[in-house]
Point group: C2
Chain length 297, copies 2
């Protein structure tokens, strides 16, 4: 398993930086793509490129000549990414990148999907579309086409569906960091009622899961999550308890968003049975480490 040439896109992102660390630790030759140069070296070759530029796409494949491609880049601006038209550019760019990858002898591609794909299957005329689903729809469309492309061009393909992720370097405006930062500051953490049930995974586990999927021969789509159903309210309560500031947690202080999916939990049977992946963190340990990370920022 030595000396694979891995191209990693989105390498400076929340999930990408963890996958990068693991790919390097596994002893492979890693080419890390990012729009900006990274702040620190870490055993990878960094390539600055804009994946939405066709010439850049070809250049990075020519430079890296990757055997393996872990494609995590996508538009991710907090909030806006759900309905950004840029999702369409990322769909087109991803399919083009896969084609160039295969042209240069690429053997295996792993890319990131999303748990929200389960909402946007368009067969029949089932559910009315929702604006925020443009993200999920382009991801799902990407999977539909990549499966055929992989078959035609002869590369291996796995698709890792991301659920709810937390941990170091998460964007401060998102749920876990915003609660931690409020409580650290001794301020109220104002939340919705938090009745939705979700599946949380520590970002380091997720980076490891993507890396293990990349280095395996498993084909098809995998839910990458913990498999554990956790109410948002219980997650926030646990943060309050771990920080000894439960009295500052204000569940129900913000209005619930209408039409939210009540439950979204990963089916981890393939992840466990076929990939034999075991997470390092349970929710309590993962949150504890995340709190510590924010404390010393």
């Amino acid at each position: 398993m030595k000396h694979l040439r891995i191209l990693l896109t989105g390498a400076s992102g929340f999930i990408g930086r963890q996958a990068l660390r693991r790919c390097v630790a596994e002893g492979h030759e890693v080419y890390a793509v990012s729009r900006e140069a990274p702040s620190e070296p870490d055993g990878a070759f960094w390539i600055s490129a804009n994946l939405l530029d066709p010439a850049d796409r070809r250049r990075i494949i020519e430079v890296a000549q990757p055997t393996h491609l872990l494609h995590l880049a996508w538009t991710t601006t907090h909030g806006a990414f759900w309905s950004a038209l840029e999702n369409i550019d990322w769909l087109s760019a991803t399919l083009d990148l896969a084609r160039i990858f295969a042209e240069f002898g690429g053997r295996r591609l792993v890319a990131a999907g999303t748990c929200w794909e389960y909402e946007v299957n368009a067969s029949g005329n089932a559910l009315p579309p929702k604006e925020h689903q443009l993200y999920a729809a382009t991801k799902y469309a990407c999977l539909v086409v990549l499966r055929q492309l992989a078959h035609k061009l002869g590369f291996g393909l796995a698709w890792g569906r991301v659920f709810f992720v937390y941990g170091e370097y998460e964007k401060p405006a998102r749920l876990v960091p915003s609660v931690i930062k409020s409580l650290l500051a001794g301020e109220e953490a104002r939340c919705t009622s938090g009745t939705q049930v979700r599946d949380f995974m520590h970002v380091r586990d997720l980076g490891n899961a993507f890396t293990k999927l990349l280095l395996s021969k498993c084909e098809g789509s995998f839910d990458l999550g913990s498999g554990e159903a956790v109410r948002i309210a219980d997650l926030v309560g646990l943060l309050g308890a771990l920080m000894d500031r439960g009295h500052l947690v204000r569940l129900g202080a913000l209005p619930d968003r209408p039409g939210e999916c009540p439950e979204l939990v990963a089916n981890v049977s393939r992840l466990h049975d076929e990939l034999s992946f075991v997470p390092q963190y349970d929710l309590q340990n993962g949150l504890r480490e995340t709190i510590a990370w924010w404390k010393y920022r």
Copy 2:
């Protein structure tokens, strides 16, 4: 309903030329897009453009300023289109065209899907991909994204799934023309066993159905077919009978293709109930007219 500005892509194609005729007959201002200039004028404004060129896409929308877009263009090279990588370019081009259309105030978009979409739904890990499904997968992916895009950008959307079409100007290598031409020449028509059940519609009916869908307010996907289950063997037999050359039909002379879908018939309930569409041709009349058309070519 007067004076809609209709942009029609694929206007010189097999289906497009029929839709064009009908759009013009309905009294609308029709801008017909084709890669080559057409041989005859027919009440439409012709625009020569390559839809795979981003600048051309913008130019045709700027020129036509369409309120309605009937998008029939796609890669269609006989045989090769199933697995051509160009399908990916058409997916990207179609999504981009839709975006530009909306940007310039477009109100309603109708595009062509395919009955083969029913094979490529990728949720779960159901069926292994087949190379010929790249076409169907890109069409299906297009629908998945267009639904969300229509919702976000505020244009109406309908998707017409094409089944099996025959009639004037069909490519000679396809089933109906090749049998007719053989029998007209007094030669054997060598076919497979033809046990597959399909849904046949005359191309003029299909062009009318697309036009009616475009001019309606119906939303979502519609199977555009006759709803009648016909064995390929019976279709070929009917051609032989209508031409009085049944003795030249050789069913089973060619090997069956492995893994062919045994039955593919349109569900026409939406087409009938919501769009109130009634075809003009039954199979016998449609084939009779098609035979006559080939006789005097």
